[in-house]
């Protein structure tokens, strides 16, 4: 298998993501790691809560990986996404792409995170000191 998709309520294990993506055929690996930032537009973030429509989220992540394989000569694609409650500094998403040549790895990795943020049915609620907000829900 050259695609690994995971939706998990447990801490994402970056080292095992990297172990899985590395291979003797690859020359370049690009890894994107999202982290929970301590502030949004200057307001202190206390925690984030991620909710997913799980079967569709998995299906959409697989579609994005398939699109990336069609568009770039890449070898392996990994997309791991957290669900549940995350504290500041924790990792909601890890995307890793290996390729013989680095340009394809960079392009595909960036495409995957950009597209994931537009199409994968996962929602985050940011908790601030003065209340909670579902990100992007309202104009």
């Amino acid at each position: 298998m050259n695609t690994q998709i995971l939706l998990s309520a447990q801490t994402l294990d970056i080292q095992s993501c990297i172990n899985w993506i590395m291979s003797p055929e690859s020359g370049g690996i690009d890894v994107f790691i999202g982290t929970v930032r301590n502030a949004t537009k200057g307001k202190k973030v206390l925690k984030l809560d991620f909710e997913a429509y799980e079967p569709m989220a998995i299906s959409e992540m697989n579609k994005i990986a398939a699109q990336a394989f069609e568009r770039w000569p890449v070898q392996k694609i990994l997309i791991h996404h957290r669900t549940g409650l995350l504290q500041v500094g924790e990792v909601p998403v890890v995307i890793a792409v290996s390729a013989a040549h680095r340009d394809a790895a960079f392009d595909a990795c960036r495409y995957i995170i950009d597209t994931l943020k537009q199409t994968v049915p996962i929602w985050k609620k940011e908790s601030f000191e003065d209340g909670d907000v579902w990100v992007a829900a309202h104009p």
Binding site: A52, Y53, M56, P92, V120, P121, I122, W123, W134
Partner: protein, 80 residues
């Protein structure tokens, strides 16, 4: 036919539940469903946007809904 609609994120809060039921005619479309939902839950109109999914795929306004389809309302996603 009776259809169930799964809800997530802000729409789960608007519905007050992760799943609601509606009665619709057999040839109902996604567009008809949106109309019904907005009639019953006017707060949906305040969202930036929302989509409906049928059987884990984004649906188009003209798509027909069948009994036993898995339907979900998808407010603006914000993963990553």
């Amino acid at each position: 036919m009776k259809i169930n609609i799964l809800a997530f994120g802000v729409t789960r809060e608007i519905f007050g539940s992760g799943e609601i039921s509606l009665e619709m005619t057999n040839d109902a479309t996604i567009s008809n469903l949106k109309y019904l939902l907005e009639q019953q839950y006017p707060r949906l109109k305040q969202l930036s946007s929302y989509m409906l999914a049928v059987n884990n795929e984004y649906a188009l306004p003209g798509d027909t809904i069948h009994e036993r389809d898995e339907i979900a309302i998808i407010p603006p996603v914000s993963g990553g």
